[in-house]
């Protein structure tokens, strides 16, 4: 018999291999050291004049510029060395400082993938923080106290309702149990059932149950348990709000490709590649914004009792007396006016906020009310000290009016702002939430990798892959001769495919990920070893070379499949429990198993078929054999 692959199989293998080369290729173009300039207000674009200023500052200091470009409102300047890059950042900062706009100047690495590859969607692999350096934070939002805060607000609300209803309900006391149950105590069962009726009518978010008071205390208790969905809602809001705050802040840090992402119910991952000053990063991330609600001053108000602001380019004067601050705001959501169908923003205050709002608005219907957004930011100042110019970073407070709307009725705990376009409503709700009372957030985990260590990790990783790979290749060649060569070619193809798949999935390469690649190299030859041992065995049994080849591949296949599927299962578990770097290891392991099955079985078979399968042969060059 002869061993031939049908043409389509050979074409498939060649096709996959060519695709592998194309999608692995971007990784062979080393990225440029680059500086990215963004306007701090994300919407504004960086213009040509600013880029010119930055470029001339660099040329003056003798820094060589490879190229520069303006893409999507950001400027990108490519430089030749890491040293130049570090020097360039403060230079550009200084030069642009005089232009009176806030720019974010971030270190970046710019891919040098040729255009034709980019047109095919080929991109280089992303490096994890342990390879490129940077800070990773895991922030935990204190949702438990957010829930408790809200419960306390409800307590005040319900108490007021009990006192002010048509029929007054007397309660003996209240307490909060387990952070989610609000308990009211009553002197008689009769009052309790009255209270129960009222609560069930007005507060559907509570599950109401009755119980006795513990340890023989006199009285009857009504337990208001917040429903799971209500708790979820509060948690979601608290996390979303912090997420927004962090996103707003991260821009200020000058990070090229930040990652801010919710993780699970109450955590937020913040990855800041390239950031080295963790103390500064924490300071900036920790700052919160707030809101102030103020009435517009009447035209005859004295100057001393008003504050000047701008709203949409026009001057407005607001009353110095404050209605309330952002910490009284529970929620702000985009909704739609049921009558007109136009977008609006629904605002919910806590009970005290509702009272304050009511007091201020009931006699001021027809006047306008403003919402002021207040944020602490930092800016740089340059000062000459001892004959040297030094940079001083100082905080300042930015206040701007984000809404000015006419009060149409006496407002209470919840009210709405209407007359907005869709985008405006969304933007306003976002800002209101960012300025509302923030649930506390703390750092649950922090990992910082210095730039030098990142670079070192890349080098060590690359060396280990190279050495491990060479050792295996030499061994296979020595042990299996020509068949070893086929296995080695398959191994090279496997590495290539592994890199190609990782690049096109935009998987992140980490140090454990590199370890996974090394391990894959060692284990990938296993399939070939299995096949070759089977072939040798068949030869020993006296099979003719061609049928030995065939039987070897056929019989080893099931074994290889079983062995690889079980390893894959383990890798999937690893992926699902792992975090960050460990996930990186699991990914390379999974992809490596899949690509190695293809190259070691089909690839090798195709090579062997092509080399010896098409003609009758007497002896196979498959290494030593004791037969």
């Amino acid at each position: 018999m002869l061993n031939r692959y049908p043409l389509w199989k050979n074409l498939l293998i060649v096709g996959v291999f060519v695709l592998g080369i194309i999608y692995a290729m971007p990784n062979f173009y080393p990225p440029d050291y680059a500086i990215q300039i963004q306007n701090e207000q994300g919407s504004a674009a960086v213009q040509d004049p600013e880029l010119t200023v930055a470029l001339s500052a660099l040329t003056e200091s003798g820094i060589q510029i490879k190229s520069s470009s303006l893409i999507d409102g950001n400027a990108l300047i490519r430089l030749s060395t890491a040293d130049d890059q570090l020097k360039a950042q403060p230079l550009i900062q200084r030069a642009l400082h005089d232009l009176n706009a806030d720019f974010v100047i971030a270190l970046n690495s710019a891919p040098t993938t040729p255009q034709w590859l980019r047109d095919l969607g080929a991109e280089p692999m992303k490096y994890g923080l342990d390879l490129r350096g940077g800070v990773h934070f895991l922030m935990e939002v204190d949702t438990a106290s957010a829930v408790e805060d809200r419960l306390e607000g409800m307590e005040q609300d319900i108490k007021r309702a009990f006192r002010s209803g048509s029929e007054r309900i007397r309660y003996a006391g209240t307490s909060i149990l387990e952070g989610r149950v609000l308990q009211f105590q009553f002197a008689s069962e009769d009052v309790r059932s009255k209270a129960r009726r009222q609560v069930e009518e007005t507060y559907p978010q509570f599950l109401v149950t009755e119980s006795d008071l513990p340890s023989g205390a006199d009285g009857f208790a009504l337990n208001l348990t917040m429903s799971d969905s209500a708790i979820r809602e509060i948690e979601d809001f608290a996390v979303q709000q912090n997420l927004q705050t962090i996103r707003n802040r991260v821009n200020e840090l000058g990070v090229a490709e930040p990652l801010v992402q919710r993780l699970g119910r109450q955590r937020i991952v913040v990855d800041l590649p390239g950031v080295q000053d963790t103390a500064e990063a924490k300071k900036i991330l920790g700052k919160v914004a707030t809101l102030e609600f103020r009435l517009e001053a009447s035209p005859d108000a004295s100057r001393a009792s008003t504050l000047p602001y701008n709203y949409e380019g026009r001057a407005v004067r607001l009353e110095r007396d404050l209605i309330l601050r952002g910490e009284r705001v529970f929620d702000a959501q985009v909704g739609f006016d049921p009558d007109s169908g136009l977008p609006q923003v629904n605002i919910t205050l806590d009970s005290e906020g509702g009272e304050l709002m009511h007091r201020s608005t009931r006699y001021n219907i027809g006047r306008r009310m403003a919402v002021v957004f207040i944020e602490t930011k930092t800016r740089d100042r340059y000062e000459v000290q001892d004959g040297r110019e030094v940079k001083i970073t100082e905080p300042y407070v930015e206040e701007r009016v984000i809404s000015l709307a006419t009060v149409q009725a006496a407002l209470g705990v919840s009210f709405r702002i209407t007359g907005l376009a869709g985008d405006e409503a969304r933007e306003l709700a976002l800002l209101l939430r960012a300025g509302a009372l923030a649930a506390d957030m703390f750092i649950a985990e922090e990992r910082t990798v210095g730039a030098s260590l990142g670079q070192e990790n890349i080098e060590l990783g690359a060396t280990s892959v190279l050495i491990g790979f060479s050792l295996v290749v030499l061994f296979m060649l020595a042990f299996y001769q020509w068949f070893g060569l086929a296995a080695n070619l398959a191994l090279i193809a496997n590495l290539l495919l592994l890199v190609a798949v990782m690049s096109s999935l935009s998987a992140t390469l980490t140090l454990p990920g590199i370890a996974g690649i090394v391990l894959t190299v060692g284990m990938a030859v296993d399939a070939n070893v299995l096949i070759f041992s089977r072939i040798k065995e068949e030869l020993r049994k006296g099979a003719a070379p061609q049928s030995a080849i065939n039987a070897g591949f056929e019989r080893a296949f099931v074994t290889i499949l079983d062995a690889n599927i079980t390893t894959l299962l383990v890798a999937i578990i690893l992926y699902s429990i792992g975090t960050g770097p460990v996930k990186g290891f699991a990914i390379t392991l999974m992809i490596g198993i899949l690509t190695s099955m293809f190259t070691a079985i089909m690839g090798t078979r195709s090579l062997i078929n092509l080399a010896v399968g098409g003609r009758p042969i007497k002896r196979l060059a498959i290494g030593w054999s004791q037969s």
């Binding site: 985990e445 280990s464 140090l511 060692g522 296993d526 429990i577 460990v582």
Partner: protein
């Protein structure tokens, strides 16, 4: 080719396995593991000095700056220093999270700003506990999946053999880490799961052969069939272990300090894994009286196997 009578020594092997595992359990229960920062929580700072530095001096400097409870050691070279601090009860959560910055500032001040921050890590107590739980859960889930898959593809006795072999490998590796007080961190945990993957690979290959031989031969003692199967797969087992060990040693020697624990755990695991697929998995099969009846070929699979010469 000369046959190695593996199963002749199975009693010796079984008893030495039991003895080693008992030692592992003893060490684990007496001194537990040297849990890394990932699991204990706390703070770690790695800095590099321009000149070789004495950890004793660094320790003194930190003492003088008012810090206590720190562990200072070399990390990789005599210019790199690693400082570790357990979570400080006297500090608030917020301040604990800033401990790394404060430590670096103190180190930097005592070295006139001449040091580089290489790495700084903080793991909060809640996260550490979670990672440990998740890790344990992952190991168990992996074992359970293996049990299911192997009993589905092979047979329950094979599955038991495989799982006991894996359990053996994991416990043994953990025992070594405990005995030698090597640090057990997340990467080592990942390596343990990879060991499960590797050792399983080996066990499956051997089991596959045992199954095939049981189905083909009509007579012979079980232990002889198993011996024959082990011998047939021996070459492959050795070569694959060798190539894997080659790359792992490359990783151990060239991969740097951060990957050392990972590489070590895998090297131990690969060695024990190779041993266990011979002496633990196969041994369990014999103990469970694996017989031809256990392997009556299901109809759909039978067709292609019976057709073979």
């Amino acid at each position: 080719m000369r046959m190695v009578p593996f199963m002749k020594y199975r009693q010796v092997a079984a008893w030495s396995s039991v003895a080693l595992l008992l030692m592992a359990v003893a060490s684990l229960s007496i001194q537990s593991l040297n849990w890394g920062l990932d699991f204990t929580g706390g703070t770690l700072v790695e800095v590099s000095y321009p000149e070789p530095t004495n950890p004793e001096q660094v320790r003194l400097n930190l003492d003088n700056a008012g810090w206590n409870g720190h562990v200072v050691q070399y990390f990789g070279s005599d210019r790199d220093i690693l400082v570790r601090m357990p979570p400080q009860k006297s500090l608030s959560d917020k301040d604990n999270a800033r401990l790394g910055d404060s430590l670096f500032a103190a180190l930097s001040a005592s070295a006139n700003g001449q040091i580089d921050l290489r790495r700084s890590e903080f793991v909060g107590p809640a996260v550490g506990e979670e990672l440990a739980n998740q890790g344990g859960l992952g190991l168990l889930a992996a074992l359970a999946m293996v049990l299911l898959y192997v009993s589905f593809r092979f047979q329950l006795k094979f599955a038991l053999g495989a799982v006991i072999a894996l359990f053996h490998d994991v416990l043994f590796t953990l025992g070594i880490f405990s005995l030698l007080r090597w640090e057990f961190d997340l990467t080592v945990l990942a390596a343990l799961l990879a060991v499960i993957g590797y050792s399983l690979n080996d066990t499956i290959v051997v089991s596959d052969r045992i199954r095939e031989n049981f189905r083909q031969s009509r007579r012979g003692k079980s232990s002889d069939i198993i011996d024959e199967s082990l011998n047939q797969t021996l070459g492959r087992t050795m070569i694959t272990s060798l190539t894997t060990l080659l790359v792992l040693f490359a990783l151990l020697i060239m991969g740097g300090e951060l990957i050392r624990g990972f590489a070590t755990a895998l090297i131990i695991g690969v060695v024990v894994g190779t041993y266990s697929s011979i002496y633990v998995a196969a041994n369990v099969l014999l103990r469970l009286n694996l017989s031809r009846e256990d392997l009556i070929v299901p109809v759909k699979e039978g067709a292609d196997l019976d057709g073979e010469p």
